[in-house]
Symmetry: D2
Subunit: 173 residues, 4 copies
């Protein structure tokens, strides 16, 4: 629901959004890295065309979820090359705030991301349900707005790059 | 095969070893965190009784494998409490040497491990097959011996703790 | 010399550059965090006005230099708020490639940086001197060009933000 | 004061302790890496003879202090080879809990430490002064006791290794 709220904030005339839930993919294909499986292949194709990716994960055991990493392991090495990325996480305790920046960013970086904007950590205690809609605290709300603004700008900048015909970044090792 | 070689080096009068391959577990159970599934529940029970755990993973995208993390996410928060741990990884490039220490250790630490010995990184180029047996280079061989020696000592020390009736470590957050 | 080469690549009609060497600052002031000392205060003031910062460090003991961190510790918590940052490092071995992404980025991130572009790691073996000028290998040269291009674009985007009167990002904890 | 309290807890018939304050070292020698300076050389010599090292640091900007890293940069690459290490930190917010495990451990690991016991993070709010003595909360007190117990055991194990004439670990890169 947090992701849907962000996608709503992002959507506009110039921006199409799509929410892909890793949990709905085929378990066998994920675990045994069958990247040709239709549920995987379609997602990879959709990602290729995207200028920006929002990566959302819960924090378990001081790091991002295994489900996320299983999916990442299936992707081409530079699957995020030239793209804007917004990492967000929810966690039981603010003590896990650094897990995104220390744990997830180096992984995203290694896939050639062009711009990873400030990541967003939302403590579970700061979210509640009212009338089937997610409510967040005032500070989280403001940070959410910030994150959406900066991610939008990063996506635009990425799109400009593409029109300028700038080659994809070079990365080795 | 690298793990089997380490387990051979560890086995002795006082030490029973067992090799659990995450890849053989039920994919559905792993992805949907069905910890009651027999293939999961048995492994968790076996781990509970162990004094030491060797964690082996390839390095993908600058970090440990998603399969490993999916399994870790299924375990109780302090599943490694009071245990000795030896982290080992194989990787295509020595450029990923730091992935174990920066990426995996904090996760293992968060599960209450008592002693994580020096981790071992084996570059793929340093391994070969001869007569169906894994061969490693001289330096890797020496580091392997070192790792086995220290892990054995750490396991013994852990066992002593248990006989001394020392309570399990306290951890919060 | 690597930094000077990058600054040359950056300089142009619209961009003023300046190279600050931490090694020339007052040692007493650095170690005892005397942020009022003139050599510190001037640098902090110069940084405040900058739209982009290139952070260059050698890798020692699997992480950025202590000198860099001593200086960072002197800065206000959000000293990089709204700025573009390009992290670069030199190191004896490609085995330390991940030190920037795992070690330095979370620190830079915690200071509110708006856009940290792909970091650049240059192995010492890839640099040489010819006629008092630094020479780098072909691949490093291409990565350098990439880094300069993306950093320039990030700085421009940051400047636009400022003209749009967008408030500085909000960060807590 | 926190360190002194730990050293008190450690001291006994078989264990000599000594508290070295980095802040008292010569600033010039630290910043310009003059490892021959007497205040540095003496400390390095004392460390060489130690079986265990308690490393204490505040958390600034999501990581260990620059002063600590400046000192570490002065040490030989394997200055902690074969030693037991207890990392402790104080910080303004529990949000920085992971900074020790993600930030400091890889550095300590790279210096060949034999056993880094569970690190200890003490939030500033959990410490107070009463009659010129540091008071900590009940939970921190219990964790402190745990840490001292495990560090003592790790030091003993290290000492045994030395008497067994076991060679120092091999590390490369």
């Amino acid at each position: 629901m947090l992701v849907d709220q962000i996608l709503e904030g992002l959507a506009g005339e110039a921006l199409l959004t799509r929410h892909i839930k890793l949990r709905d993919m085929d378990a066998e294909a994920l675990i045994h890295a069958k990247s040709a499986h239709v549920s995987i292949a379609r997602t990879v194709a959709a990602m290729e065309q995207a200028d920006g990716i929002v990566i959302a994960t819960p924090i378990f055991k001081a790091s991002y979820s295994g489900l996320l990493k299983v999916f990442i392991d299936l992707l081409p090495q530079f699957a995020l090359s030239g793209k804007a990325v917004l990492p967000i996480a929810t966690g039981g305790s603010v003590a896990h705030l650094l897990a995104l920046d220390y744990g997830l960013r180096p992984v995203v970086q290694s896939m050639g991301a062009r711009h990873i904007v400030q990541s967003l950590f939302v403590p579970e205690a700061d979210m509640s349900l009212a009338d089937d809609r997610l409510r967040v605290g005032a500070q989280t709300g403001a940070m959410l707005k910030e994150a959406i603004y900066h991610f939008k700008r990063a996506v635009e900048s990425t799109t400009d790059d593409r029109f300028l015909g700038h080659p994809r970044p070079i990365r080795t090792a």
